[in-house]
């Protein structure tokens, strides 16, 4: 009933014909998946290069370079996991036609993205503490520093674009111009950002540096 009411007032949802290979997946969804695979391969390239450089180096982290804060970054990981949960609940609410609830969860997801970016800024440049750059982790000074900044900022750029994408979709949803299917595509991108962070967190932060 609610879904029917939502459909009556919102843009019409296109139901895709059943395809023997892709079921009822829309062209937009297949395109998003293909984009995510290509984006995933970009991250794979960065992480493979990181592994090769680190595996071949005699000293990965020089004594005057700071170690990476595991506890703080675990907090950022938890934040992204929470934002993935709010995103799936936004999509569920959109499917049920509960517009305000969907908007609330989309807003919470965007807040998660903003907090993550603030956390990353604080990690790099410091807000209540000096930050890695001032502690001696300087881009271009070592492979340890350069790979760290390239990989985490590339991911940070994804969080930034994802947050903008969420806010744009939220605005369209509130004006009745976005459909649940569009929120699903947004969710795919956002969960991908979370998924990639799980791997970045493990490979860049958690793998011990000692021999």
């Amino acid at each position: 009933m609610q879904a029917a009411a939502a459909q009556a007032h919102g843009p019409r949802e296109v139901v895709w014909p059943q395809d023997p290979q892709f079921g009822r997946a829309s062209a937009g969804k297949i395109a998003m998946w293909i984009f995510l695979v290509s984006d995933g391969l970009s991250f794979a390239g960065l992480l493979l290069a990181y592994g090769i450089l680190r595996g071949e180096s005699l000293i990965w982290r020089h004594p005057d370079e700071p170690s990476l804060g595991i506890a703080f970054t675990a907090g950022l990981t938890f934040l992204l996991i929470c934002s993935s949960v709010t995103m799936v609940f936004a999509y569920e609410a959109a499917l049920e036609g509960r517009r305000s609830r969907a908007a609330l969860f989309l807003g919470l997801t965007a807040l998660g993205g903003v907090l993550f970016l603030l956390g990353q800024y604080s990690e790099y440049f410091g807000i209540l503490h000096p930050g890695l750059a001032r502690e001696g982790l300087v881009f271009g000074q070592s492979a340890y520093a350069s790979t760290f900044y390239v990989i985490t900022s590339f991911h940070g750029f994804h969080v930034f674009s994802g947050t903008v994408y969420i806010l744009v979709t939220l605005g369209r949803w509130m004006r009745g111009k976005a459909t649940p299917a569009q929120i699903e595509l947004l969710g795919l991108f956002w969960h991908f950002v979370d998924l990639v962070w799980i791997l970045v967190f493990t490979i860049v932060y958690l793998i011990p540096t000692g021999s």
Partner: protein, 103 residues
Amino acid sequence: MSESSAHAPAHASRARQYLIIFLVLFLLTLIEVGVAYVQGHKAEVMVALFALAVVKAACVALFFMHLKWETRVLRATVVVPMCFPVLYALILISEGAWRRLAG
């Protein structure tokens, strides 16, 4: 989850499933952080960390990204290309380990 999902569970059951996955991800992250602080046993720590990361990533892809309910062809379209960098990494790790043993 669009209508491409043939055997997708009902809304209420999905909501419960999301909360379970959230708890699993939270607990696995705690375990990861604990494992990262284990001293010595570097090879075992690395294997454990990679295994935990793969399980977490699979949870996100299967349940939050609804890959579990997509068709086999769509799942293969996503998973097969991602196997090649993993295979390449395994070859490089084996080659590095072999060189260390030989040298």
